[in-house]
């Protein structure tokens, strides 16, 4: 049975918001999946809290609308509980790079087989315009009216250092490429990270800047770590430089969920095991 992929929930993103592009991309991709005869019953979307997270209300698939910064540990638990599920994590930049940074690093380190899509608009939208970890130096937000006094962090470089197996960057105005990147991330067996540059129509409308600076990486991906590091440092989310879009790094290695999978033990056998253990303590 095919389903309507968009729910009846009223959409409250601002006109021109980059989130529409990500939602549309996911909708198309899910619809293709259904057309290929694959069920959507085993797809789970986990979101944090922020503008990005409303996508959990809008997509008519299993979803866990979690807490600010905490989508990734939830997704990790879901994947460990049932490795047959396809787990997609939609997170924000304040969400995953500030509040929940520890979880992002550890998910990459563990190589848990989930796909993390960061809706990176480089500003807090829902709390009305404060700087995030990827806002450029001097960004004037409502908590930093005189401009920030700190450099942004470079999430691509951070993910390389953390051991992520699949690292890509997309842009909401390059939707076909974005779809390819998300599909590649989902197809990657292991932790996949996609930083998606999106504009915030209300608080960080950077369309012109991105449009004039982005360029496409070749479709073939080098598994060479050193050259990926060099490429990641080309643009540091602060200085004026070319912005590469595409896959920075892809390497397949054993996943956390594969390594952690338990061999099931039946109820009777468990009771026997409890009994044996108690006998051994006599």
């Amino acid at each position: 049975m095919t389903r309507t992929i968009i729910t009846g929930a009223q959409n409250t993103w601002c006109p021109g918001c980059g989130n529409f592009a990500i939602q549309h991309t996911l909708k198309n991709l899910l619809s293709d999946r259904e057309k290929e005869g694959k069920s959507l019953d085993d797809v789970v979307l986990v979101s944090g809290i922020g503008c990005h997270a409303k996508i959990a209300d809008y997509l008519n698939i299993n979803s866990f609308y979690s807490l600010h910064g905490r989508a990734i540990p939830v997704a990790t638990g879901i994947k460990l509980a049932n490795p047959d599920l396809t787990v997609i994590c939609c997170v924000g930049d304040g969400d995953a790079y500030a509040e929940g940074l520890d979880h992002l690093i550890f998910a990459a380190k563990r190589n848990i087989d989930i796909t993390v899509i960061v809706h990176n608009n480089r500003v807090y939208g829902l709390t009305t315009g404060q700087y995030t970890p990827t806002s450029p130096l001097g960004f004037k937000g409502r908590s930093t009216p005189a401009g920030t006094a700190e450099y942004p962090l470079n999430p691509v470089e951070l993910m390389l250092a953390s051991g992520a197996g699949f690292i890509a960057r997309g842009y909401t105005r390059k939707m076909e490429r974005l779809k390819e990147l998300i599909l590649a991330g989902m197809a990657h067996k292991g932790f996949a990270f996609i930083d998606v540059l999106q504009i915030c129509a209300s608080f960080f409308p950077a369309t012109d800047y991105y449009d004039s600076h982005v360029y496409e990486l070749p479709a073939t991906v080098s598994p060479d770590f050193e050259s990926a590091c060099t490429l990641a440092r080309e643009w540091d989310y602060n200085s004026d430089a070319r912005i590469a879009l595409g896959t920075f790094f892809a390497r397949v290695s054993p996943t956390f969920d594969e390594r952690m999978i338990p061999v099931p033990v039946g109820e009777k056998e468990r009771e026997r095991a409890i009994q044996e253990l108690l006998n051994a303590r006599m």
Binding site: S63, F64, S66, A81, N82, H103, P262, V263, L278
Partner: protein, 550 residues
């Protein structure tokens, strides 16, 4: 009545805990019921560690002030515990390190003769103790072979050399009982969770809860469970909620400090109605406090933790047997009522070793949780008379399972409208009543001691053992709620019939159970409190009850 207390002391790293466990097994094989208390500071090497093993013909869950035997691995042990000695106390010591022990054992010489490693030195002291206590060699031989199968011969050879040095000094009698299983409170909690159908245990190490993590991690293949130790306690609770959302029974364990980090996730469990078992094993607070010492100062915290209003269950077992039983119950009730269930323990219970009935009736008393009947469309938060919505898990055909931390409608979609907020808040809180119904039929309050006495002690958790003994000595009653939320007011009121004087006994400074009881109209007349991290002893409590006046 047959009764014996043995103290073993030495430096941290001397293997005091394992030597204590061997002494406990010797007494167990003579039919004694056991309680072992292990005292250690928060460090790895050096510092003074000691264990007190108490054996009694009747069940015990506490220590007395005096000891009958001391096994001193160093001089400090003898000096430190002088106030526990009586004229009859027998001191067995390592002659190489202790100058004035009455029964010195030349450990170094024995080890050299047997070409045994230093670590086997404790076997010499255990051998010496066995003889001094008049325990037959056959018992020593059997216990060593059963409990240290690896290297049993060499350990026994070392023990025998020391055994042959002495004559029985203070022979102890055999009891009529058969032996039982010796397990720690933490192990009993772990076994109870397994028995309750646990699929995943998630925990970040924190004393005194870590024993559960270690035990389940070691036994995970035997029980077919997943054990995860993530980056912090925030990840712990969120991961566990992920497991439960996907249909797997999960539990987490921590102590007060770690639980502070979990409160946001706890509130999520309440809002999203995801079942979860949370073990909080208390230690002395606030903050880092006394990491390896006990306390009962987190009851009010656990009762109120998390923003917003949602039902929760809190159980505080008093010993290993209750920990085993109630951990299974907690898992069942959490899933039945789709809410968080707490097992509130403390250092005394978690790390104490108790005698446990080796043949518990492992019948699951629970009925199944409410599950989806495949009727489309699936609505995760369908409003029902009980407040319980049938559960489905992702992967189920045609079920779109949406859970949400925001206020949401029956389908799980965010809703900020006043009517839906009203309806869904009522739906969640209806589950308090459902929880109370589900708890009916369980013994939620234990009454012990003299049922005709008009004076009663009101206590909770691990002070069970000490309160019951003190009450028996003084001919008074003990009223002990095992379940603290929902507060079992009906059963407590019944237990209070005929009580004129009620004395709260707690290991905190503000009498937290007494405060809880007071909110339900139950007045305590006196409070006996201890908050130095050490558990009450029987003599200690008896004299303070007498001081307070029966």
């Amino acid at each position: 009545m047959n009764e014996v207390s043995v103290l073993i002391g030495g430096k941290a790293g001397d293997g005091i805990n394992s030597a204590g466990a061997m002494v406990a097994q010797l007494l167990n094989h003579l039919g004694y019921r056991i309680y072992l208390y292990f005292d250690y500071p928060s460090l790895i090497r050096g510092g003074h560690n000691f264990a007190v093993i108490r054996g009694s013909e009747q069940s015990v869950g506490t220590c007395r002030n005096h000891v009958d035997f001391v096994l001193a691995l160093n001089e400090e042990t003898i000096e430190r515990h002088k106030e526990k000695y009586t004229k009859k106390t027998v001191i067995i010591s390592n002659k190489d390190l202790v100058k004035n022990g009455s029964y010195g054992i030349p450990v170094k010489t024995i080890l050299a003769e047997e070409k045994a490693p230093v670590i086997m030195g404790n076997s010499a002291l255990i051998g010496g103790f066995a003889k001094a206590a008049g325990i037959e060699w056959e018992v020593v031989d059997a216990v060593f072979r059963r409990h240290i199968p690896k290297g049993a011969d060499q350990n026994l050879a070392v023990a025998k050399k020391a055994f042959d040095l002495f004559d029985p000094v203070h022979p102890i009698n055999k009891c009529e009982n058969g032996s039982q299983s010796l397990v720690s409170g933490n192990e009993a909690i772990g076994l109870g969770l397994i028995w309750g159908g646990l699929n995943a245990y998630v925990s970040y190490p924190m004393t005194p809860s870590s024993g559960i993590l270690h035990f389940l991690a070691e036994q995970k293949d035997r029980f077919g469970i997943t054990v995860v130790h993530p980056e912090n306690e925030i990840a712990v609770i969120l991961m566990a909620l992920g497991f439960a959302y996907a249909g797997k029974k999960s539990a987490i364990g921590t102590s007060g400090g770690g639980f502070c980090l979990m409160t946001e996730g706890l509130s999520l469990s309440g809002m999203a109605e995801i079942p979860l078992v949370i073990v909080v094993s208390q230690r002395t607070g606030p903050s880092t406090g006394l990491p390896t010492y006990t306390g009962q100062s987190d009851l009010q915290f656990v009762l109120h933790a998390g923003q917003g209003e949602f039902p929760r269950m809190i159980v505080a077992p008093g010993d290993a047997q209750e920990a085993l039983y109630w951990s299974e119950r907690a898992m069942d009730i959490a899933w039945k009522c789709q809410c968080p269930a707490f097992i509130l323990a403390d250092k005394t219970l978690s790390e104490g070793i108790y005698s446990l009935d080796p043949d518990p009736a492992l019948n699951r008393s629970g009925s199944e949780a409410s599950l989806w009947d495949s009727k489309i469309p699936y609505r995760r938060y369908e409003d029902t008379a009980s407040g319980l919505s049938p559960m489905a898990f992702p992967g189920a055909k045609d079920a779109v399972v949406k859970v949400n931390s925001y206020m949401h409608d029956e389908a799980g979609i965010t809703a900020e409208d006043a009517d839906i907020s009203n309806q869904m808040t009522k739906k969640r809180l209806k589950k308090w009543e459902t929880l109370i119904d589900v708890m009916q039929g369980h013994t939620l309050v234990i009454q012990s001691g003299n049922p005709d006495a008009s004076t009663a002690l009101l206590c909770w958790g691990s002070t069970k053992g000490v309160c019951e003994e003190a009450a028996e000595e003084l001919g008074i009653r003990v009223i002990r709620p095992i379940v603290l939320a929902p507060f079992p007011i009906v059963q407590i009121k019944k237990a209070l019939m005929g009580v004129i004087r009620l004395i709260a006994v707690e290991e905190n400074m503000t009498a937290q159970l007494a405060a809880l009881a007071e909110r339900h109209g139950i007045i305590t007349h006196e409070k006996i409190l201890r908050y130095d991290g050490r558990p009450f002893t029987v003599e200690d409590l008896v004299s303070r009850i007498k001081e307070a006046g029966i």
